[in-house]
Amino acid sequence: MSATLTATPETTAAPAPKPTYKVTFGRVLRSEGSKFLSLRSSWITLAVGLFFLAFVGIMVAYRYNPADLHGPAADSRDAIDISLKGVELSQLALGVLGVLATAGEYTTGLIRSTFAAVPKRLPVLWTKCLVLFGAAIVVATAGAFISFVGGENFLHGKAIALTLSSSGVLRCLFGAGLYLALVTVFGAALGMLVRSVAGGIALLVGIMMLLPVFLDMLPSSWKTDVAPYLPGTAGQSIYSLHTAPGALSSGTGLWVFVAWVAAALIGAAYRVVRSDS
């Protein structure tokens, strides 16, 4: 990104002693980028997300033994399933990263400084989401590829082995990266909505991981109708090689998950504009 330090007025005739500053979307984006990079917690959560994604996938591939019915990944159907086993843990780290980026500002009081500088407020929410999405998609896609390529050696020669050139593999790996980046934005929206780090994380874990458990208590006919549309299950279909029975296709799954994220963002935007901070 190029520096845009256009502090001098365009009209050269006017000898304005004061530089004319202005808040623009691009500048707020730079500010949020700088904020993201200058916090140690950003780097730690990104690293943890990457570690879970890559390490879990490679470990499961290493331990995979088709003869062992109770071993790790005994129920795995393909190499993608194995190498993306870490997504579930990784999404927690990245979702927390999102919550921290927004709710953390309220918890620390920084939000007052932020909104004093950008009183229109919404640009702060959008640029935060852009920065988080950008950082997470790079890290998560890299993690998915590391996991797959690292696990490939161990699965080589086994029935479920796949290569990068196998049909659908690239879609799944990029899909996992996209899904995790969206989870990060989802976390950011939830954090902005509840304005508390603890509350935001609880809500994130509740929606992503506990909703399916809760659904188990409902009548089974509901379950089959509703379950595919839950954010966790819809998201899962984005990075699955084969559409499981009753699950959404990867394209539909993506749109359903995007709709969840969009709903959270709309709620967050409403709260940001309407409530006192």
């Binding site: 256009t6 200058s38 009081g109 007052r112 909104f115 004093a116």
Partner: protein, 317 residues
Amino acid sequence: MIELQHLVKRYGDKTAVDDLHFTVKPGVVTGFLGPNGAGKSTTMRMILGLDAPTSGSVTVNGKRYAQHAAPIQEVGALLEARSIHPGRSAHNHLLALALTHGIPRRRVDEVIELTGLGKVAKKRAGAFSLGMGQRLGIAAALLGDPQTIMLDEPVNGLDPEGVLWIRTLLTSLAAEGRTVFVSSHLMSEMALTATDLVIIGRGRLMADTTVAEFIEQAGGDSVKVVSSDAARLREALLGPDVTVTGEAGSETLAVSGLSARQIGQAAADAGIAVFELTPQAVSLEEAFMTLTGDTVEYRSNAGTASKNGAPEGSVAA
């Protein structure tokens, strides 16, 4: 220039700010006084658009705060000191604010030097002392070189050197023609720095005045006289614009309207021995408490204000 027009803020049943209407003028330091919980911070947050008023409006330099293209160039504000992320360094905190407006990096270094944060600028702000945190907040307020500066309790937590620094800073900013609006719950502090004075209690405007006027109204020029014959001295001193008070049988009188020098001369002329002649320092704190006494939210039972300052309501706008 900050203009408040019938500003009201309610939280449910509770009215935090009740019909505040006043103007903060450029070129002078305006003190914003009130007991804890009087609504000072809420008012300042509404000026910055952080809280939306229930009714009424407030403009800064002619526009609502949020409508300015470069808000921190218009108003630099220090709200509650800890409006920072403890994990970020002072330098990076200021840089992030500067980036939103396209303020160059060298201005960040300038305000760091100006506030004496040079040595700690790269350290995590969470490790700062209260005083350092205040300095960082003031650095952020000065970042945009704003025309209006608004500080909420800036001397809180500062050491004597820091307090002196703030006083000099405020008066020099006002001398440059800027609007300086400073809240405090300490009357004595404001008497030293402010020219204009806005006093509120329970969200209501109690006085919109100047420090000089307030001191005068508080009975600022009294002299304590202890003499051998208080009754005769009283006769000798009385005149138009002179008031003498004292208990019957006591040797002590409080005289206002005459200087110590005039009183001494009058006593010598009348042949009365004077044992003590002391110009009284005005207890502004007492006058302030008298004014806001009924509106104090949290009062301790001990140490309530004695009512020998100005009579209630004497400092009307």
